[in-house]
Symmetry: D2
Subunit: 317 residues, 4 copies
């Protein structure tokens, strides 16, 4: 989000600090830990997740990576993918020899379907596990907890289809998803979120983008309430993703407190979060398969020092 | 590979054309097919692959994406990833508010651990399924069979550890991996390659890069012989990747015939291939687990029109 | 301009072909010539241009190169400059040593204030001097007449302030600048355009962008009429630039004939043209100095193979 | 330059601090000044420079911008230009209509022939005019004295052909150019450097790159001695450029003091400096014209917030 920084705005409000204290995981996996709640995806969790596969049906969750992507320029520098060809059918030896084509891309790593790495957010000068925020530099990027430390993200995925659970295609733009909504979606899906799960929260907001309304997709947007991190914390969830640009309700619930859910998830809990995930076909598939859990494979690209990465998640039933 | 195009060099030799005819899959999955041998990964194959998971151990196979990557400039335009920060701890509202960091990257899509999409190679003016090579343009990229059509690449993976099967850490630079080598590696691993499998062929060549010798890694290089496509074709393999820059033996086995294996796999068979995969830890893991097959998740990023994509593969035991 | 290509649309109309014949310069400077009308800037022209300098006043004509530039996404791939820091105060030896900062940019070469090189346009399979259009490739870019061949662009500049000559700040969006308008602006400025001059045509359209209306700036736009190339041809002008995105009137004067002025200037005449030049301060300066000619220095960056380049022109009085 | 930062290395030595005090220009043009010695290029200087033009001969001084440029990877992130086509002869309406080609580039702004802006260097936490170095951020780049503030760089240019003055084609790699060398080159050229001049110092080092030896060009390299800033300061020179990658002698004259000349010129004097300028043809032209001064036009591209920019300088005789 772009915003002018106003020195008159006070520091983090007490309400936030109380929430932060309740969900904080600093030190939980040691002072040297860089991956936070991904530690909750144990071998046993993975084994159990693989055991859920029954039909072999696969559903991809990534948006196409292209110039006409979800970014509108609202977030400075977060550019949609610009794909160009550096070679087109370039012959290798003679004019009729084997020829090759090669591509290059320039893109914001958070531009499309992506994971935020833990240092994507900081507050009060700190990133996850209490490390100084100034360990992120132009030279190195993020020295700690960069997206490359999330070397494998494979676990049980659970779709919490909040919109459908409420009988809607899409939540209203001013709807903050609450813990009660998550409970309702669990019940609707006949599923119980557990330790190490990756939770996908469907709002239906992506339908705006799919219908051609980028600006309507971006803002205003439904999204997670500042009250949900406690819910994820209580369940020991490993990661959360949804189908919005902002992830959390935007404009925010608390005046002058932008992105508190980012700060709670990434900084306090050390929990990666994902945005712009296409959950439309997954919603259909879960309905048809009559189950809302699956094996989810969603490993980011290991960009050294990066605070995020595109990801091409696949749900396997 | 960069090479001057010499009009005196004749078109594809008969030896190549005979091989091409024997492995050709054009029309096999219909005239409209864009994904070739990925069709062989059926729901049943995926189900069986998931059923092989026993311990939950995960092994990542991607090289870090960074400026100091495997590219040396030998292949024009295939640039190593250049990662920069567009925001570093940028406060959103006031000076002590939540702050965010954002990244951007420019990279060759074939620069690091990647999949070649089918139109990455053409010969005689054709790409896979007989489509005209000039359907690849600067404007659109590849109109058919772009990497975005490989929406999910999850199957059984099989490591054929050719180097270890021969009692070596690393194959000599002039060693062309033969069908007999593949047979030997199957026997060594106690595994039989079958329909829909993704085969990973380990030469050990990546050790050169890991030891800091980029140029020695690039060239000369061991790699697949022009005789191996028939082996993969007979087994109905879905995709093949290895731990070299050139994929196939380089310099080539047949004078003035560069990248014949690329042409046979990508153009004739319609089989994706992967390069620069780090199979070192996988080799260790397979030895320790005493099994050379596993669930492999290796979905590329869905770049519209692209002839390749970085991939972050994970093997799950 | 982005447009779907409709096979039902006929080839170039006779009206265009007649104009093309009248202004064609192919072969005029030899079959090997790559720089077209830049040949008209002789040493003598430069000497005379330098001799016009009287006060030493300098006026820069380039827009700032930044993410918030004139591009709106209407022209696919022509991305505004994305500037990022790769080093920020990075110490070289110890923590208190000299430190350096370094930058990187990704941008469309035609995104901001720029010159179009001759091969930026083609028609009927030809570029300037009758060369085949397919000499432009992904591998090499433009083999002939690339912007790098315009190694020095320094001459007498003449401002034709068409808007002010008509008593307007800015021309209406549907105004095609005619030869009569150019005559009128000459008279208004008390200047006569001659051989080797670089003509700057002011429409005032850039005021829309400067006022924050990017979309209004882009389209619809006043610009040169298809009748003006003959005027420039008759005067042996070396190059023409203006203060619009499209250069010529857009939507076009002749139905289904987009960018005919581009084709006449670049392909037929071999005359470079410039767009998005900021002529606002120049208009003021010319009024104050009571002269509409000056020394103009406007050399593009020598990108090998490029069909355009950003330029930072300076007028010197 | 890439170097590990060693906390044991002491801060700036006294020798440097003494030099800094003697050449410091902070406050000379006011506390708000951003352009330093460019203030010395007055209207009168420009008028006199234009008056030196006698023949109209023009000599371009920029290296081609291309992938095979001078960068070797020694300086992290300073990537050679990667030029790609985003459109190649793309028809606008129908298949035989006017077609256009468009380009995009990614490049380090200091990669080729360039100007360093004043904030390119900092020391002791300060940039030019005493401003805090931390005014350079990932979000904005350089808030003060960015290259965009150098809106016009046109003045008298003087070639000091140090190599030829010594009877050499090229200086030895360990030769630090001294004030006495500059005096000798003035005498050789029959020219006296004065206030507002832009001085071009030729070492001949670029011949290594032109002959294909990039690494030999980069390092070790002759260049300016730490003693020369006082010479430029005494003459009130506006800017200095030369034909090396490092600008100053490298390895440096004072142990553990890297880039002291950068710090003196950019931080203390506020004087822009240029590198990788091709002075070979200029050397020939000056010899033929028997004069070593000329009109020099060398305006950088106005990248907002940038600490450097490519430039396409032209000398006019």
């Amino acid at each position: 989000m772009s915003a002018s920084t106003d020195p008159a705005v006070p520091a983090m409000p007490q309400e936030f600090l109380d929430l932060a204290e309740r969900v904080n995981n600093w030190g939980r996996w040691g002072a040297d830990d860089e991956i936070g709640t991904l530690n909750l995806i144990t071998d046993e969790v993975v084994r159990a997740a693989a055991a859920t596969v029954r039909t072999g049906r696969r559903v991809p969750l990534a948006l196409p990576l292209r110039q006409d992507g979800v970014q509108t320029g609202m977030i400075p520098g977060r550019v949609n993918p610009l794909h160009t060809m550096v070679q087109i059918n370039q012959p290798l030896v003679g004019p009729d020899s084997v020829a090759t084509s090669d591509d290059v891309v320039t893109m914001g790593l958070q531009a499309a379907t992506h994971w935020d790495a833990l240092p994507h957010a900081s507050h009060s000068g700190r990133i996850y596990n209490g490390r100084p925020a100034d360990t992120i530099t132009a030279h190195e990027g993020a020295r700690f907890s960069s997206i490359a430390t999330a070397a494998y993200v494979v676990s049980r995925g659970v779709l919490l289809d909040v919109a459908r659970a409420k009988g809607l295609d899409r939540l209203p733009a001013d709807h903050a998803v609450t813990p009660e909504d998550l409970d309702g979606a669990e019940e609707f899906g006949g599923v119980t979120v557990g330790a190490g799960d990756i939770v996908l929260v469907r709002t239906g907001q992506l339908q705006a983008y799919l219908a051609g309304d980028k600006h309507g997709y971006a803002f205003p947007s439904p999204g997670l309430s500042v009250r949900t991190p406690e819910w994820f914390h209580a369940r020991d969830v490993a990661a959360v993703a949804n189908d919005t640009l902002t992830f959390e309700i935007f404009p925010p619930e608390i005046e002058n407190l932008w992105l508190p859910v980012h700060a709670l998830h990434l900084v306090e809990m050390g929990m990666p979060q994902g945005q712009n995930w296409n959950l439309e076909k997954l919603s259909t598939a879960c309905g048809e398969e009559r189950r809302y859990s699956f094996l989810l494979s969603a490993t980011p690209e290991p960009f050294t020092g990066a605070t995020g990465s595109p990801v091409a998640p696949v749900a396997i039933f």
